[in-house]
């Protein structure tokens, strides 16, 4: 099982011939992910270390059975690539690309939801199910298989916490980066629901940050619909209002989206929130004892 990516994943990489797409696509394949094709319009017929390159995602689906797409296409063309993937019939789209305009994402979000397709990102590190499949840029060597689901808006912060868990001998079912943009394809709640339904996941660590209200929504969801224990971490307590902290989505607007508010919302729903990544890993370890 695990969620989102596993041994059933048949991956097509949109932008496989670009330097990043090639590097990470091949890295994912080396990890064991079934990489069936790459797509770069106009480069159909070429190959990347044995991976066929096609002109359209439709060909990847029809001729190679692709069911998951990873998007490495530059931001100005990424929205179109996501639509192409959705319409070609993949069930999961993982958009690594950073810098997609927020208005494009509003439309994509409505479109992807209406079609029942799952999407991670944009501006996300992807998903890793240790021992099964890796789709994205998460360094797999940090993680080991286990029962903790990890979901985050950030990349390295997740690695940090995952690393601390690994040091304590704890493994992960799936590590999911939903992305750092204001509008992303899947919310915390979407991923928590998948973890709740996943037999391999027993505990969940949620790593939030300033901006938006997805952590607050997650708190309500956890309290009302989850039976599996969850601990959380929030980054950005020191962030000043009105400044974008690296991620386009990490910004306090007026009085909304502060780390304090998120921490309080989570604690009000009975979820323990670690003060540092280390403390968060320790709280997670406590759950498993």
């Amino acid at each position: 099982m695990a969620i989102l990516v596993d041994t059933e994943t048949r991956l097509v990489v949109q932008g496989l011939t670009g330097s990043e797409g090639r590097f990470h696509g091949l890295r994912n394949r080396a990890y064991g992910t079934t990489l069936v094709a790459g797509v770069t319009p106009g480069k159909g017929g070429q190959d990347v270390e044995g991976v066929p390159v096609l002109d359209t995602v439709a060909q990847a689906v029809e001729e190679h059975g692709a069911n998951t797409s990873m998007v490495f296409v530059p931001a100005p063309f990424a929205a179109d690539a996501v639509y192409e993937a959705i319409d070609a019939g993949v069930h999961t789209v993982i958009a690594i690309t950073e810098g997609i305009p927020a208005h494009d994402m509003l439309r994509i979000h409505a479109y992807v939801r209406a079609r029942g397709v799952r999407m991670l990102g944009p501006n996300c590190p992807g998903a890793l199910s240790p021992g099964k499949a890796n789709v994205g840029i998460i360094p797999a060597e940090i993680f080991t298989p286990g029962s903790i689901g990890l979901v985050s808006r950030s990349g390295t912060l997740t690695y940090q916490i995952g690393h601390e868990l690994t040091q304590m001998g704890l493994g992960n079912s799936t590590i999911v980066g939903i992305g750092g943009d204001p509008v992303v394809g899947s919310s915390f709640v979407d991923i928590l629901r998948l973890f709740q339904d996943d037999p391999e996941t027993e505990y969940v660590v949620l790593v939030g940050e300033i901006g938006g209200d997805e952590e607050e929504k997650a708190a309500t969801f956890i309290e009302s619909e989850m039976t599996k224990p969850v601990v959380a971490y929030i980054a950005g307590f020191t962030a000043p209002p009105g400044k974008t902290m690296g991620h386009a989505g990490a910004i306090i607007s007026g009085s909304a989206g502060t780390a304090v508010a998120k921490k309080e919302a989570l604690e009000a729903c009975g979820i323990r929130v670690g003060t540092t990544p280390t403390e968060t890993a320790e709280l997670a370890a406590e759950l498993t004892r």
């Binding site: 479109y111 390295t156 750092g180 209200d213």
Partner: protein
């Protein structure tokens, strides 16, 4: 990217939202001639990217060009909430019968644009929302379907605008605000106040306009509106070097890789009792040159007394970062104490490189928390 009032009004003008005629001025003399050109009474308005201009004395009504010059002299150079006034907007004075409020914002929670409209304009909308929520009409727009005229009617009738000509003018402005929002990839378009003059004309007396940074590549004319003089010089340098940097107000320079980890690092410094000097994200795939650039930006801040390097290698390789640090030390003859914590990909190799260099001001700490404490001590 936030726009000045006059820039937002220019975009309003482009979509057909009525605004008063005005001119930009950067000197008292320019203010005088702008006022003379416009004729009659004018308003001299400080252009700053913050609220509260009026209370701070940044808006004055001038009877003629002479007075406009006098006020311009007063307002230019004024410090309004940390923003120094360098530009003025000289605008024909408008008589105000009523003040309304209209905005269209990017609602992240609902993933839809959100209209807000109330006849209780001229004041802070969060106050209206708290004190008389019934007076505030909120309405979302479907991102795929876009705007339809009924939405304007819902706002106008819902807020209780009764005069037919006003209803019609506002409904038209509501539609045009959506045009502006979509056409310029706005995150916020706010008109506060939207005024009705004694003769029944409706127009935008102020503008608040924020454009999505990620969409600037398709709006060259908006991107050019950025006022580099108004941004913090360190942040301007950072932008130039493609370093993600936010100035804070402490002594511990902070550098992390990845936005989340960098934010967390800033937090941990605070929890360890220190005051971070900045947020700085090396990015996902930082190479040696990136490290040098980031260090250059961080150390340009004279407040910085120690630096904390917090790297979790993933795609970023710790050996590469270590080399970058040594390169920067060589090039910049840095004497500030630097605490480095390396973990993840090639961390051991990175630590070995730093150990071999044996720089006097370089310390390697095993964990993030311990490193933070060390850096705080060194900055004290």
């Amino acid at each position: 990217m936030d726009l000045y009032e006059y820039q937002g009004k220019e975009l309003f003008r482009q979509v057909g939202i009525p605004v008063a005629d005005g001119r930009l001025a950067t000197t008292p003399e320019e203010a005088r001639s702008a006022a003379a050109e416009l004729g009659g009474r004018v308003v001299v308005k400080a252009q700053v990217l913050t609220g509260g201009r009026g209370k701070a004395g940044g808006i004055k009504l001038a009877a003629d060009a002479d007075e406009a010059e006098v006020y311009a002299r007063e307002i230019l150079g004024l410090d309004i909430r940390g923003h120094v006034v360098r530009r003025l907007w000289i605008e024909q004075a408008s008589d105000i019968e009523r003040e309304y409020y209209l905005s269209l914002t990017f609602d992240r929670g609902e993933k839809k644009p959100l209209y807000m409209f109330t006849t209780q304009g001229g004041m802070d909308i969060e106050q209206v929302a708290q004190k008389s929520p019934g007076a505030l009409v909120r309405l979302h727009v479907d991102p795929l379907e876009g705007f339809n005229p009924w939405q304007a009617r819902r706002l106008v009738y819902g807020a209780g605008v009764t005069e037919a000509s006003e209803q019609k003018q506002i409904a038209s402005i509501v539609g045009k605000l959506h045009d502006a929002f979509v056409r310029f990839d706005a995150m916020l378009c706010e008109i506060n106040p939207l005024i009705v003059t004694p003769t029944g004309e409706v127009k935008a007396l102020d503008s608040k306009f924020t454009v999505d940074d990620n969409a600037l590549y398709r709006h060259a004319e908006v991107a050019e509106m950025r006022d580099l003089d108004a941004t913090d010089p360190l942040e301007a340098l950072a932008r130039e070097k493609h370093v993600t940097y936010v100035k804070l107000d402490g002594e511990v320079g902070v550098l992390g890789n990845g936005a989340g980890l960098s934010m967390s690092t800033v937090d941990v410094v605070t929890f360890a009792g220190g005051r971070p000097a900045n947020f700085c994200d090396l990015g996902g795939g930082g190479d040696a040159q990136g490290v040098v650039d980031a260090l250059e930006v961080i150390t340009r801040d004279p407040q910085v007394r120690a630096i904390f390097f917090n790297i979790f290698g993933g795609i970023t390789r710790c050996d590469e970062v270590a080399r970058g640090i040594l390169q920067a030390l060589g090039e910049m003859s840095l004497e500030l104490p630097i605490v480095v914590r390396l973990d993840g990909t090639n961390a051991e190799e990175g630590r070995r490189i730093l150990a071999e260099a044996a720089a006097a001001n370089l310390r390697v700490s095993p964990t993030m928390l311990e490193a933070a404490k060390r850096a705080v001590e060194l900055a004290a």
